[in-house]
């Protein structure tokens, strides 16, 4: 059953009416209602607040990395483990084809339903997850395979075992290695880009965000708790931090915003996957046109150019 957020209620009513009209085989009513839906979508989604966008980024029906992998890849095989400690299931990796191109996809995976949420640790990786990502990224480099990173995490897991096994080191190592990985890399934030835990698979030749995804230095709740001394101020924190795809593109901190359906990826997974797939293939072709040194220099210079200061 679909989940609707408060501000999606008007959509919910029309969706229900359409479903009823379909049962009665009233095609005329369906047509009218679908036009109403289109108008309502325009009205509701054109003027979303930052906080509403955050809610969409975390929407329980939003497609996760595995959904995109299933929709986009063919002949895909999953690769497991960091070859050192374990297999962190909050990071997944597949080799296969997207549009006849050999690719490796590495993504953060949230679970759907209690059982899967626990299995995926709510999409919060431990160090071995980041080390698994790096191991497979190195393999992609060896075989000249492009990588698609799918970023979607509330953050790296804050726990005792994670600290014991070097959460900081694992993230730092990825930032370092991915900045100079020789193969072509494209990172897409598909939902939540939570801080260092997101950045650890978010350093790439092209960094894009789906329309309703966010990318932030700390969760809005965490920011509100620290700076406002009040976790309930998360709406203010969301707004102040400028974490939406639109804002980050304006600030020139990401390369592109992917044209996710206006109604949200959760209501039209196919269209969302198509938009992401097309972006990936087009970006890859643009990167094909550069030689390796050019591409690596461009990546390095882009990473190094970030900063707001005067002198």
């Amino acid at each position: 059953m679909a989940t609707y957020l408060d501000f999606e209620n008007s959509i919910k009513h029309i969706d229900e009416d359409i479903a009823n009209a379909r049962i009665k085989a009233d095609t005329h009513a369906v047509e009218i209602l679908e036009r109403d839906l289109e108008k309502e979508v325009q009205k509701t989604y054109k003027n979303l607040s930052d906080y509403q966008k955050l809610q969409l980024a975390r929407h329980p029906d939003r497609p996760y990395a595995l959904d995109y992998i299933r929709l986009l890849m063919s002949d895909a095989y999953e690769l497991h483990g960091d070859r050192a400690f374990g297999d962190d299931l909050s990071i997944i990796s597949y080799i296969g084809y997207i549009n006849q191109r050999k690719v490796i996809v590495i993504g953060e995976q949230k679970g759907r339903g209690t059982k899967n949420k626990l299995k995926r640790n709510f999409g919060m990786p431990h160090p071995e997850g980041y080390r698994k990502a790096l191991r497979i990224a190195k393999m992609a480099e060896k075989f000249h395979l492009p990588i698609l990173f799918l970023v979607d995490t509330p953050g790296a897991y804050p726990g005792i075992a994670a600290e014991e096994r070097g959460q900081s080191e694992a993230i730092a190592r990825n930032l370092y290695e991915l900045s100079q990985l020789k193969t072509k890399t494209i990172a897409v934030v598909i939902g939540e880009g939570g801080s260092g835990g997101a950045l650890a698979i978010g350093v790439a030749d092209r960094v894009a965000m789906m329309r309703y995804s966010v990318f932030s230095v700390i969760s809005p709740e965490g920011c509100a708790a620290i700076l406002w001394n009040d976790p309930a101020k998360q709406e203010s924190a969301t707004k102040a931090m400028k974490i939406t795809a639109e804002d980050l593109k304006k600030l020139n901190l990401i390369d592109d915003v992917i044209d996710e359906p206006l109604i949200g990826a959760h209501r039209d997974k196919l269209a969302a996957a198509k938009a992401l797939g097309e972006y990936f293939i087009n970006s890859l072709e643009a990167l094909d046109a550069m030689n390796e040194d050019e591409r690596l220099d461009a990546r390095y210079n882009k990473i190094l150019s970030v900063g707001a200061y005067k002198e």
Binding site: A156, P158, Q167, S168, Y176, S179, S216, Y300, V306
Partner: protein
């Protein structure tokens, strides 16, 4: 009665830390009272129990660099407020207050110096400037120090003391993690060493970027070092944390750092590491000693 009230008032006044600097310092570990000069002489290490108290950035530079050799760099870099960030206070106000408090525009001091005769680029974080947080200015200063190290074929030494990335710069601050980490690849390509010293506290975005990328990673005894803050971990797991969790000794035991170095030995250890790791050391600097 009257006398009691007055006495209480006086006592209250004396116990307020912000008024009239006290000449007596209490060790936060063994609670011994010491005259401030006694403890300053030891660079804030308690002479009674060896507890390493926090130390100012200025004192840290005096501790590590040879007298008169520290040449400060990049002092003109100044933060701006790219997001017009306002929480309970505006970021602009916080920058101004931090400047008034420290006389600086950044949460670190960067410069070139010699350390026991070895030339190096030295960066020291200043926790009293917005919790030593990593923002755009700090990131840029680290990159420039790396570039100078490459240019002059010197090693890089960074002493971290930071709560993490600066929230008021949001994603700009987050991306300083990848910026500083990427820049360190140039130091590697040039075959030059980076000695990372983790002092109390080194957390979040600083620990999860350049600070943990040292060729040699040293920590001060008892320093709190980690990715997630203890309050957050406690809330997440819903349990108390083990004794000594995220302290330097815990990290050493788990294989996450190379060594714990007492402050009294820090300068010599850093200099020895630099000498050892930097290529092209003139061989006549050493004489061969054969153990009998």
């Amino acid at each position: 009665m009257m006398f009691g009230e007055i006495f209480n008032k006086i006592r209250k006044k004396q116990s307020t830390p912000n008024e009239a600097p006290s000449h007596w310092v209490k060790c936060s570990s063994c609670q011994s009272l010491m005259y401030y000069k006694e403890i300053e002489k030891e660079f804030n290490v308690c002479p009674k129990c060896g507890f390493h108290m926090r130390i100012s950035a200025q004192m840290r530079i005096e501790l590590l660099s040879d007298v008169g050799t520290f040449e400060q760099k990049d002092t003109t870099l100044t933060p701006i407020d790219p997001l017009k960030f306002v929480d309970k206070k505006s970021y602009v106000k916080r920058i101004t207050e931090a400047h008034e408090k420290t006389g600086r525009n950044s949460a670190l001091i960067s410069g070139s110096c010699t350390i026991d005769g070895v030339k190096a680029q030295l960066i020291v974080f200043d926790f009293s400037y917005m919790g030593g947080s990593l923002g755009s200015v700090e990131g840029e200063m680290i990159v420039r120090a790396i570039n100078r190290a490459v240019q002059n074929k010197e090693g890089l030494v960074i002493v971290s003391a930071s709560g993490g990335a600066r929230m008021q710069e949001s994603t700009f601050a987050l991306l300083q993690m990848s910026k500083t980490s990427a820049a360190l690849t140039k130091l590697t390509q040039a075959g030059l060493p980076f000695i990372s010293i983790l002092s109390d506290p080194t957390m979040g975005g600083v620990s999860a970027s350049f600070a943990w990328l040292g060729d040699v990673i040293m920590a001060e005894p008892g320093a709190l070092i980690g990715f997630a803050g203890q309050r957050v971990i406690k809330q997440t797991i819903g349990a108390e944390l083990p004794q000594g969790f995220q302290r330097a000794e815990f990290l050493l035991e788990h294989g996450l750092i190379d060594m714990i170095v007492h402050r009294a030995n820090l300068k010599k250890t850093v200099a020895d590491m630099l000498r050892f790791l930097i290529q092209d050391v003139p061989t006549d600097a050493f004489e061969l000693k054969i153990k009998q």
